[in-house]
């Protein structure tokens, strides 16, 4: 039986020729049957129209309105509204706050995601819930929290008002005094950090969990130090996810209204961020100027959206599973 190779080869040849002929004669198209999971065509169209109508009326229309209102009195009026000193101060403050908040949350977010996804320790679930807290708490409540702690009647007020003088053994008399937090830049930064904290951590956690720690262990077994492993293996693996998180975090930081509104005190030219500036102008019936400022925020949102879409399209496989397309 084992020696009948000749017969086998012939058999294969005959089969091949047969197959080719059969394939060719069966060229006529067969009627296409609808897949069992697809709806009738009219249902598809109806759903599509409903979705499109919703998008147009609730998302695109307002966006167009913002820009058209901003430019209603011409480009010169728009530029004047944007170049006005209070507006410039608001833009500068917003950018400054974002520039401080982003690196802070970058470090916090990476550290938290790393701790949660690559290690097992008691209280891990509690930590994960805490990371989500800012999503659950209303921003206004978050703002009030900081007033309660750092405000004129808050716990930490003595530290800010008079400071604390400590007699330390080696350093001698040390005077500890916190800067003013509420109605000043530190308060705005704190409130924004609080509100935007989960964006980076939440983006990285599933990604890092999904990647596991085999690559890190491999790096360690090859003699890399923990630091080298982080910079050369962990970080490059999460870079696109990190950028994605930074993008969302930045967009939110620039647009944050509630928490910042509570702690900022609305001092024009000093503690007014761009969203607060829009509100003030609007309340003063300076519609055109309000929309001009609002259009800047809308523009930053559009840029974010484009970058986000590009990231999802170009580097979708390096993002957490829920962003893959």
């Amino acid at each position: 039986m084992a020696l009948e190779t000749g017969a086998n080869v012939q058999g294969v040849l005959a089969l091949e020729a047969d197959e080719v002929v059969v394939e060719r004669t069966r060229a006529e198209p067969r009627p296409r049957l609808a897949s069992p999971t697809s709806e009738p065509r009219w249902v598809q169209w109806l759903l599509l129209l409903a979705a499109l109508g919703f998008l147009l009326s609730f998302l695109l229309l307002p966006l167009v309105l913002v820009f058209s209102e901003a430019l209603r009195h011409g480009v010169d009026a728009f530029l004047a509204a944007v170049r006005e000193p209070d507006a410039l101060a608001a833009i500068r403050l917003t950018l400054l706050v974002t520039a401080i908040v982003l690196p802070l949350n970058l470090v916090f977010g990476v550290a938290a995601a790393w701790a949660v996804s690559k290690h097992e320790f008691p209280g891990k679930r509690v930590l994960v819930s805490l990371i989500d807290l800012p999503f659950a708490v209303s921003p206004v409540v978050a703002g009030l929290l900081f007033i309660l702690i750092f405000g004129a009647h808050g716990w930490a007020w003595p530290l800010i008002d008079e400071g604390l003088t400590l007699g330390l053994p080696v350093l001698g008399q040390v005077h500890l005094q916190l800067p003013k937090v509420v109605f000043a830049l530190p308060g705005i930064v704190l409130a924004t950090v609080f509100v935007t904290f989960p964006f980076i951590a939440r983006e990285l956690m599933p990604l890092m969990e999904q990647q596991g720690s085999d690559e890190e262990l491999a790096a360690l077994s090859l003699g890399a130090s923990g630091w080298q492993t982080f910079w050369r293996v962990t970080l490059p693996n999460i870079r696109w996810g990190l950028l994605y998180g930074v993008l969302l975090c930045g967009a939110r930081a620039m647009g944050e209204f509630g928490a910042v509104s509570v702690v900022s005190g609305h001092i024009r030219g000093r503690t007014n961020t761009l969203p607060l500036h829009v509100e003030i102008l609007y309340n003063e019936y300076a519609y055109s100027a309000a929309f001009a400022a609002a259009s800047l925020l809308a523009l930053s949102a559009l840029v974010t959206l484009v970058l986000k879409t590009w990231l999802e399209w170009r580097h979708g496989e390096s993002l957490a599973a829920n962003h893959r397309h």
């Binding site: 085999d214 491999a218 790096a219 360690l220 077994s221 090859l222 003699g223 890399a224 130090s225 490059p236």
Partner: protein
Amino acid sequence: MGIRIEHLDKRFGSFTALDDINLEIHKGELLALLGPSGSGKTTLLRVIAGLEHADQGRILFGGEDASRLGVQERRVGFVFQHYALFKHMTVADNIAFGLKVRRGRERWPAQRIAARVEELLSLVQLQGLGGRYPAQLSGGQRQRVALARALAIEPRVLLLDEPFGALDAQVRRDLRSWLRQIHEQTGLTTVFVTHDQEEALELADRVAILSGGRIEQLATPAEAYDRPATPFVYSFVGAVNRLRGQRRGDSIEVAGLALPATGVEAAGEGALDLFVRPEDLRLGEGGWDAVVVSSQRSGPRLRLRARLEGGNGQEVELDLPVEAQGRHPAGTRVGVLPVRFGAFPAA
């Protein structure tokens, strides 16, 4: 470098992964850790590598106590089941990683690193693929890169965790003989984990068979197959028939047949289990009378099932050359003779 493992214990919560493991791995040998999932084989390998720490016991690398050393200081080459290649680095950068992270006096000049990478690429037969990324390679190629990367640091021992587990059968067979070659070329003490007995028996110098965190038997592949030390080894390595029997003086009575009890350690009178491999059963006179129940062709062999006349309906499986096909249809009477068997006190 030889490895000596003394009284190793490891628990995960209430689960005992390693239970008082003692093992001596000779210098330059290729040892397989074989066992079902949950037997502790991977944990043992990771403890040797320093990726896990044992609760108790010592590991000596060539006489030096390595138990307290971290994974970085042990200088072991570890190959992961799913390769764990650095996705964002080229093949060459992957292989060079262990050399590039060296600092101070141990650091090699770039030229020497590049030369070493070339040398390793040709060792694993991937010349010219240094510029590719892991995603552009096949599974077998990735595993070879992982091996080259582990070898780059000139490890003291090479540890492989299910090295061929994620590959398809044909590639597995090729890589198996290739790994044997590499082992002979480098002369490294090598330990690999597998759940595939064929792989372990074919590739290793010695096999440690694990179950429930204990080593059931440590032997050469031939010994493990021919003289299994425990019922577990009998049933895990190779196929086996298990029959109920009774010890009576110098003989074992199984299904009406008296077999000599020489070499059987079950002491005294009592129930025992007889283990006979399908290929150790011959058709012929002087054995059990049996009736063929079914016969099944399996590749180059013929599997015959037969019911023993005096055995309370117990059935055995025989492994016959394929020429016997058709000679013993269901219902025919045959004589079945065990030529080699093992017996253990009944569980």
